[in-house]
Subunit: 485 residues, 2 copies
Amino acid sequence: MRRMPTPAFDPERFRREARAVVDWIADYWRTLEPRPVRSQVAPGDVRAQLPPHAPNEPEPLSAVLADLDRVIVPGLTHWQHPAFFAYFPASTSGPSILGELLAAGLGVQGMLWSTSPACTELETHVLDWLRELLGLPERFASSGVGGGVIHDSASSGLLCALVAARERATHLQSNRHGLAQTERPLVAYASAAAHSSFDKGARIAGLGDAWARRIAVDARGRMDPGALAAAMDADLAAGRVPCFVCATVGTTASGAIDPVPEIAAVVARHGAWLHVDAAWAGAAALCPELRPPLVAGAEAADSWGFNPHKWLLVNFDCHALWVADRTWLVQALATRPDYLRNAATDSGGVVDYAEWQVPLGRRFRALKLWLTLRMLGAEAIRGRIRAHVAWAGEFASWVAADPRFELLAQPSLSLVCFGLRAGDAASRRLLDRLNAGGTAFLSQATVGDRFALRLAVGAALTERRHVEAVWAEFSRLAAEAAQSA
Amino acid sequence: MRRMPTPAFDPERFRREARAVVDWIADYWRTLEPRPVRSQVAPGDVRAQLPPHAPNEPEPLSAVLADLDRVIVPGLTHWQHPAFFAYFPASTSGPSILGELLAAGLGVQGMLWSTSPACTELETHVLDWLRELLGLPERFASSGVGGGVIHDSASSGLLCALVAARERATHLQSNRHGLAQTERPLVAYASAAAHSSFDKGARIAGLGDAWARRIAVDARGRMDPGALAAAMDADLAAGRVPCFVCATVGTTASGAIDPVPEIAAVVARHGAWLHVDAAWAGAAALCPELRPPLVAGAEAADSWGFNPHKWLLVNFDCHALWVADRTWLVQALATRPDYLRNAATDSGGVVDYAEWQVPLGRRFRALKLWLTLRMLGAEAIRGRIRAHVAWAGEFASWVAADPRFELLAQPSLSLVCFGLRAGDAASRRLLDRLNAGGTAFLSQATVGDRFALRLAVGAALTERRHVEAVWAEFSRLAAEAAQSA
């Protein structure tokens, strides 16, 4: 007979060690500002400092925290740094971290309603709250046939929407018989400026690049609804099935907002599925004055998604996806093996979120959304979004007023795309110098045919002075470059 | 000009509030035992207690914790309860929770090596450690062309392996042109007892149910390699392309282990992709004496996955997937938009894990695996696995010795399938009564054509006395049922 081995969870030890970790995190945040934003390690530097084999015997937390400081932290690009302006910031907050901690501490599974009912019901409820906060149409509310769900990312949300669209278009025959040997290819559409998750989703779902069409954009990066209509009509005429259209509200490169109402009208003529990818910009719909262009046309969308983990102060991963008719997701993705059978599912009266996503298991992610909304309150979140938009506007005005620089797109919410008038090569060198300096970090995009520097304001610790400082640094580096030229 | 809004992260407030949350979690674990394991709420009970609208103004943590106690906890099925024996337990541990907390606190993104190098390098490194600990073949080590990656779940790992297999079989033409109009359908195979994620993956990837074949199993639930060979040969003869075979090491219903070496020989003849799904059982390969049947044939596998979040004391989500040749995953899943371009990716000398998975973003999940392995040490984890296997063996011997009960499958590691000799209806009633009582929670499966009760030992707090107690309860309920009959 075997004795109980070392406890995996000793509450008193956990209390002690978790306090040390909490202190470590608080100190990390307090000391973020002087650190170089972008990691300065070369490939292999981190691994070279790690032992080649896993330990057989326990090591104390102090040893792990020491390695965290010595090996790991120098290898991090600090996404929570106040001068992180790259990509779209993945902002977090104290309440959100507490929510993630609670989810880990509870360790429950929300794959089915029955496997932990509160996990499902809180998620449905908080996504109803959020729908209302964003001013999204009633059709996405769980009180009808729609509802919301948390995915890890916009890529996964788009994939599931696309698979649901595929099944709706083929009357579930794609699931039954697959796509091989079908005579009429299914076609998906997104703008030339849409996110790469569109291509990834179309590949995974078996449509392929050939039938994942990129539609032309106007000078401001917005999908041209006329070009979409022409493409869909041509596909129909050629015997193909226009199936899925992804409209982007806030493109990655420049924050362009597709004309969703006009796109919706085209989509409706074909009975295709309209998905709105508002991954970054969607959060701004929390502010009534910023809302109208962001939710316009949403009442015609079959699915609409955005990432609270980008700009709503909820730590990654948290993508909110709403669907107008949950039946299609469930019909596309449900498998009901004997070992998961339960009375609640059989009754048809509950939501089983495993049937709305790729994975089976799911952790209690609604907690971090719940804590963030309750402990910060909607108005404080709005205040932050408004501040970010205002600071980006100021930055854009400084760019516009400086003869060495030019705006490469109209600023969109908290995103500014700009470059040097001296040309793309000079802009590229400027970006490299700024990022190498370590005081701030930005990334780039192609806007039109230009190399654009992107300033994306949104990190949780960013203040106006950080935006001022990065502009001062750009200005200084541009002057340096002019002198050495 | 806008003033700085309420800070989203105030280190001192976080320190104070996180301590309260840590204490709440420690108290939750200390008081788990007297709670009913399975939630006793009815659909809608939780939501009925939540306010209809999100708060506009901040609420204190104390209000959230009060609602957690009042509304959420009664709605939970306690997966960390010591008498949780359902499904496969999703065990966690103190160190793992600390790792999750650190990941949330750091808030970095590991989508590309360049977006936070340590996030990628620690993951690669810890999966090399784990490969060695499990005794998996060298071909899965990152030093060659293989390597490991963390996915959220076995379902996602299988889907990505299947998409990689699809692209290998079609020389990347499925990605280019999609599956429509292809003359030769791709076919995937798994045993009749394989997990439902096989069907879900085959649907999402566009193969469809028709070409996702379920191969017959023997009396012990193991795939029949002869039947597999016959099916693959027949498909080839009929002009189809045998593409992907999923062998299961530890089926969900009864823990059966497919004969991977024999399956591998069949798969090799067809040049198909061999994926091994060891989601639950894989962890036991940590113990050399349990290892041989679990890793047999792995040297012929193209991909091999298991869930540290099941039996390795790492909290959900943490699926470890190894591939023998990472090129296929990358070729199948990589999209390289301008806005993610960076020198490290261009050099070809780094791993960008976004190209190994469905989502783009990824959090720093390697931390929880690192902390768990270091702070518990491999030997203590082995000790727990051995204890669970021993206790399950004892439970099985009690079942076998009781004339009212019978074993419905040979016990597999820590999983016991059993029922009442009085028949399936009686077993079903027994399970309902036990679960309604709240002192323990088990789930069911179909084994052969019988309704089986499954005792899956694996929760972090489980001790031998909990296994004894659930047997005593079964025995008491069976006696009660006999009297009332």
